[in-house]
């Protein structure tokens, strides 16, 4: 915001309160109400207004308080933000960011826990970015703000307070559409993103300890457009693949990864591609910990592909 006057933040409670997760804390105090402001309680309004601002020279960063509440804005995102460049032959563009906390881990029940990335990754014209570390959160967010296209920036809320990491002062970008290897290895490739990254890293450590196998945990970081080459390379190098996400399995993002690998790297694959995912049910509250994939479930899948 210091570097670029056209960047502004809007959403419910993002002003003086600093957002319900305090992600925008002190921004109003520092940059004033013109640059960081509360809006009426209307997600379609927030995104629709953001689309208009973006077309007219601003770089809005709109917050949707929980990803579960994004659906009133689905029309503005899917039919508008994502398609305006295409339908105007590039005359109008929408360089906006929609930030939204997603995923389980806070006892939020049906409507404060969902992982809806597949709906959005399925939308041509919309980028979908999910960080899993503080360093990436900053670098990917700056890259998203500077990106000429609309970006849905999904923040794994389970990680907000999970651990600390120093991040560099000042502006830096983490390039979009580039995966990151969380661990190096050539025995099993585990693809994941968001809050599942530490879960998979934990499973990788356990299998190293128990069976001395090296797992390559790949954090996808950008779901759309995907870094296909790195995914295929990891699949080819390891020959065994596990895909992990919290979202329901059916038509989840793992289905796309699995199909991609099956289509383009099948000759290197030595075991069935395994998916570890949320169940195909709404998200429960009391039994949340039984619903969310944990290191134990990931470990089972890794063992299965190893033992095939």
């Amino acid at each position: 915001m210091k570097e670029d006057d056209s960047v502004l933040v809007m959403g419910e409670d993002v002003g003086p309160k600093g957002g319900v997760f305090l992600a925008t804390e002190k921004l109003t105090a520092e940059f004033g109400e013109e640059r960081c402001f509360d809006t009426p309680l209307s997600e379609d309004g927030i995104v629709g207004v953001g689309v208009g601002m973006a077309m007219n020279g601003m770089k809005p960063v709109c917050e949707i308080q929980f990803q579960d509440f994004i659906f009133p804005a689905f029309d503005q995102i899917v039919s508008e933000a994502a398609k305006i460049r295409y339908r105007s032959g590039g005359q109008y563009t929408v360089p906006m960011v929609i930030r939204t906390p997603y995923g389980g881990g806070i006892k939020g029940g049906l409507y404060h826990s969902q992982s809806g990335e597949a709906y959005f990754a399925h939308t041509p014209g919309l980028k979908v970015v999910i960080p899993s570390t503080p360093y990436d959160a900053k670098g990917l967010l700056i890259a998203s703000i500077n990106d000429p296209d609309p970006v849905l920036f999904m923040e794994p809320k389970a990680l907000y307070r999970a651990f600390r990491e120093d991040v560099p002062d000042g502006v830096y970008e983490v390039e979009l559409s580039k995966t990151r290897n969380v661990t190096e290895g050539g025995d099993v490739a585990v693809f994941c993103y968001g809050a599942m990254v530490p879960v998979c890293a934990d499973a990788a450590k356990r299998i190293k300890d128990s069976r001395n196998k090296d797992v390559r945990v790949v954090d996808l970081r950008t779901l759309m457009p995907l870094d296909e080459e790195s995914v295929l390379q990891a699949a080819r190098d390891c020959g065994r693949v596990v895909i992990v996400h919290e979202a329901p399995r059916f038509c989840g993002y793992g289905a796309e990864l699995s199909a991609l690998i099956a289509e383009r790297a099948i000759e290197s694959i030595e075991a069935p591609i395994k998916r570890v995912a949320g169940f195909d049910t709404p998200f429960p509250n009391t039994l949340e910990n039984y619903y969310m994939p944990d290191a134990r479930r990931v470990l089972d899948a890794i063992e299965e592909v190893l033992d095939f």
């Binding site: 419910e12 409670d13 002003g15 003086p16 009426p40 309680l41 049906l110 195909d280 509250n285 910990n289």
Partner: protein, 371 residues
């Protein structure tokens, strides 16, 4: 500013024309507010000690829910409330234990531990429609419930409630528009407690009031003192009567103040002026009603103390009973997705149960496999 309907002033003195209300109804309104306070207080303590995850303070707004509930009929009418409406349930004798079952998300929770606390759902003793977190969604649904009543020629009505912030949602606008067009037998009750989490209602709308929005949808709008249970009762009774007579919907704005935080996760001192809280403390809805009831001879100090003691005991027992219950069994993750469970879910359910049967995490508090 639209006129504010008030019957009892801040001290409990009658300043408007009191509606004819049976003594039992008045005392039940009073009791529902007392119950709400005790329930609210217990929930705050349970949350602070980590026994429940979340609650929503109702302090200060109780007269809105209690007064409105009293104007509706638990047999014929349907209720589509929102989360800050505890007194509406208490008024119609929903058991405190059943409410705590939801707060704990235990095996007897009607929502089967699937929803967060304060997302109640009941069909008995009245139709209290399952509360949804996505705000405003219940408003057009409530209109649909009302249109179904009209379609069958019933003399029943629906009441739906929502906060001031929720008037900005598209559900509010499409709901009121449909209700106006089809003259649906419905009462829209907006609890204007002046905040939507941290956002003051000033930035929610540029209209001079919420009630005035009714005009654009072709229905009457009424603004009422939400800390005056009698005034709320009167406004909702009149609106329900209109609805039953086929004259269509009404929008009521109950002007009140949320004395606590938005929820147990919220720190209102970050954004609410202390002076505002002090000002509204003097407008306490319980004290006002109590003073008036005593003045009218409907209540005595002694009886009021007895009620407080009875309620304290009731709430304590209900909380203890709910807390003692186990959590829902694992299979409940998979039921009620569809009426008939598809095969892929059956397979996932079996896998989940087997997985946890083999792990120590699967053992529940009582040391039994939870299925």
């Amino acid at each position: 500013m639209s006129e504010l309907l008030q019957i009892l002033d801040e001290t409990g003195k009658k300043v408007g024309k009191a509606p004819r209300v049976k003594r039992e109804v008045l005392l039940q309104i009073y009791r529902a507010i007392v119950q709400t306070r005790a329930f609210d207080d217990r929930c705050m303590k349970l949350q602070r000690t980590g026994r429940i995850g979340f609650s929503v303070p109702n302090l200060g707004i109780e007269a809105v829910s209690a007064g409105a509930a009293a104007a509706m009929d638990p047999i014929r009418d349907w209720f589509a409330p929102y989360y800050r409406d505890f007194a509406m349930l208490f008024y119609h004798d929903v058991s405190a234990e059943k409410m705590f079952d939801n707060m704990f998300g235990n095996c007897e929770d009607n929502a089967v531990g699937r929803q967060m606390p304060v997302h109640f759902t009941f069909t008995e003793p009245a139709k209290f429609f399952s509360i949804s977190s996505p705000l405003g969604t219940q408003i057009p649904q409530a209109v649909g419930m009302a249109m179904a009543m009209k379609n069958r020629g019933e003399d029943s009505a629906v009441i739906t409630t929502f906060g001031d912030g929720t008037t900005s949602s598209s559900g509010f606008h499409s709901g009121l528009n449909f209700a106006g067009v089809y003259k649906a037998p419905i009462v829209f009750l907006c609890q204007n407690n002046q905040f939507a989490i941290s956002c003051h209602s000033d930035m929610q709308t540029a209209s001079e009031s919420y009630a005035i929005k009714a005009r654009a949808y072709g229905m009457p709008g009424v603004r009422v003192d939400g800390n005056d249970a009698l005034a709320v009762y009167k406004a909702v009774s009149d609106a329900a009567k209109r609805a039953r007579e086929g004259k269509g919907p009404t929008l009521i704005e109950a002007y009140t103040f949320r004395m606590g935080g938005h929820s147990t996760s919220d720190d209102p001192s970050r954004y609410v002026d202390a002076g505002l809280i002090a000002k509204w403390q003097k407008r306490d809805p319980l004290l006002r009603l109590r003073n008036w009831l005593i003045g009218e001879g409907h209540l005595t100090e002694e009886r009021a103390d007895e009620i407080a003691n009875e309620v304290a005991e009731e709430i304590k027992q209900a909380a203890d009973a709910a807390q003692a219950k186990s959590r829902p069994v694992l299979g409940t993750i998979f039921t009620d997705v569809f009426e008939k469970m598809p095969s892929h879910l059956e397979a996932q359910m079996e896998g989940c149960i087997k997985h946890h049967a083999e792990r120590d995490e699967a053992v529940d508090e009582k040391g039994e496999f939870p299925l």
